[in-house]
């Protein structure tokens, strides 16, 4: 048992959502993913452009007293928090507006948009799993397995 096997298994479970979920659900989820990925990129961009890496050093220095064991744990929790928030807000907006196209109405172009949407979801799912797995590796000190070089890439990028 190693992180690579968990990575493949978790990806398999998440991928089924992308294959079976409806059009509207995928849109909501993808908006949530997009907002959370964008917020992480902005976070890193601000850190790198400001030059002093204030937040990054703050989090890594608080190794013992902080609820976040490391930078990876902060990133993944931050990511999930933003994702859930974006998902709920999108869902609420779509729920009360309740306007637009009925889900049972299938114009031809929608099929292609759905495929693109699903592929987008799969890419996001891969990104999310890649974020979670280094956290597992780091927090529980698990062996990497056959995907070690890939995890090292993500791990190196985050630090």
């Amino acid at each position: 048992m190693n992180v690579s096997i968990i990575f493949i298994a978790a990806l398999l479970c998440i991928v089924f959502y992308g294959l079976f979920a409806s059009y509207n659900r995928l849109i909501r989820t993808n908006i949530g993913f997009l907002v959370s990925f964008a917020s992480i990129i902005i976070f890193y961009a601000v850190e790198i452009l400001s030059g002093n890496r204030y937040f990054t050093s703050l989090i890594t220095d608080l190794y013992v007293v902080s609820p976040f064991a490391s930078l990876e744990s902060f990133i993944i929790l931050f990511y999930l928090a933003v994702f859930i928030l974006a998902y709920i807000v999108t869902r609420l907006i779509l729920h009360f507006c309740c306007v637009g196209k009925s889900p049972s109405y299938h114009p031809k172009h929608r099929k292609y948009i759905h495929i693109i949407n699903s592929l987008g979801f799969l890419a996001f799912a891969f990104g999310l799993t890649s974020l979670i797995v280094p956290y597992f590796h780091d927090y529980f000190n698990m062996p990497n397995g056959f995907m070690e070089s890939y995890f090292a890439l993500i791990y190196g990028w985050m630090l």
């Binding site: 048992m1 190693n2 096997i5 298994a9 398999l12 479970c13 998440i14 089924f16 959502y17 294959l19 079976f20 979920a21 409806s22 059009y23 509207n24 659900r25 729920h95 009360f96 309740c98 196209k101 009925s102 889900p103 049972s104 109405y105 114009p107 529980f140 698990m142 062996p143």
Partner: protein
């Protein structure tokens, strides 16, 4: 009726004890051309969300072929003939309650209107002389009024269905209970796996190559079972939402935008009346305009999707996966129990599970 049947009818009145042919005749009716056309028409008729079409379908379902006398046979015979004519689209189509591509008629002019005590196609009313324009307009108003009341009836019926089914609030029933229990158990399964993998002193033996020792074998079996079950759960849960999404959407739409639907129908009726009056004034035949006044179309709201509430999902793939998921849930509980028992056994034999 042919002459033989007429003769049988006569004999049945004169000597009722002699005639037992009605059973054969009634069953022969099912093989007749007219019955074939009727079933074809009824199949088409059942697709329409319309009060008249529903009435026709219920008449059809009420046909009794188990006749006991020639009188009943004659009644059945005439009913089938009557229904066969009445189930043609132009008798029951409501131009406000059709969907794009659903109807084989081309124009509103082909639909039969009540006019001067008879059913007449609208294009014929345009041509008919001897009636004043005001009289024709009155007939148009009356017919549009019928469409309007039918639409109101349809909407009211759907809203009643939503409220009767208690779909406005989430209530605990067996299905909901199962989904809540499953969600809780998934968290328990994952927690047990993480506990065994990361917090116990088994970790070194688990992290060794798969199936190399007993703890590794047990954990691997548990892990595979868990992944299969979670995958099935995700498939069924998302597929369920995919199938029910038009229902959820329509339900929300009808509860939040009920007034908007009524005003949309009023507006469409006024437009239809104006359009028909204009055709009467200009004496121009109507062509290719059957979907011009579809009051609600599928792109905005699909009322037929609410039928799922009554009938349930009729999708073989979904039902199969759902059944497999329920079975695998039971198996997964057993596997988790076995794995939990194994951990407790280890704790007893080795003193403690924690390093």
């Amino acid at each position: 009726m042919n002459s033989e049947e007429r003769l049988l009818l006569y004999i049945s009145y004169s000597f009722p004890e002699l005639v037992n042919e009605q059973y054969k005749l009634a069953s022969a009716l099912k093989g007749s051309d007219i019955y074939f056309y009727l079933t074809q028409n009824i199949k088409k008729c059942a697709e329409f969300e319309n009060a008249r079409s529903k009435k026709l379908v219920s008449y059809y379902e009420g046909l009794n072929f188990n006749v006991k006398s020639m009188e009943e046979y004659v009644l059945l015979y005439s009913r089938i003939y009557f229904l066969c004519t009445q189930t043609h689209e132009r008798y029951y189509i409501n131009p406000l309650a059709i969907k794009e591509g659903q109807c084989s008629l081309k124009s509103i002019g082909e639909i039969l209107f009540k006019f001067d005590g008879a059913l007449v196609p609208f294009n014929t009313i345009i041509d008919r002389n001897g009636y004043s324009l005001a009289y024709k307009k009155l007939a148009v108003k009356e017919n549009v009024g019928i469409y309007k009341s039918e639409m109101y009836e349809l909407i009211d019926e759907k809203i009643k269905l939503i409220k009767d089914k208690k779909m406005t609030r989430r209530r605990l029933n067996l299905g909901n209970m199962l989904s809540i229990i499953e969600t809780v158990f998934i968290l328990v399964f994952i927690a047990l796996f993480i506990f065994a993998l990361c917090l116990t002193k088994l970790r070194d033996s688990i992290f060794a190559s798969p199936f190399s020792n007993i703890p590794s074998i047990m954990t691997f079996i548990y892990f595979i079972a868990m992944i299969i079950y979670i995958s099935l759960y995700v498939i069924v849960a998302t597929w369920h939402n995919r199938l029910y999404e038009p229902v959820f959407y329509t339900r929300r739409f009808m509860l939040i935008h009920k007034r908007a639907i009524y005003s949309l129908i009023d507006k469409k009726c006024l437009q239809l009346e104006k359009y028909l009056n204009n055709a009467l004034e200009t004496r121009k035949h109507l062509r290719k305009d059957i979907y011009l006044f579809a009051g609600y179309n599928e792109s905005v709201i699909d009322l037929s999707s609410l039928n799922i509430l009554q009938k349930g999902v009729d999708n073989r793939g979904y039902n199969f996966f759902s059944a497999v998921k329920n079975i695998s849930f039971g198996i997964m509980i057993l596997v988790a129990l076995a794995y939990g028992c194994y951990l407790i056994f280890l704790a007893f034999t080795q003193g403690s599970l924690f390093a």
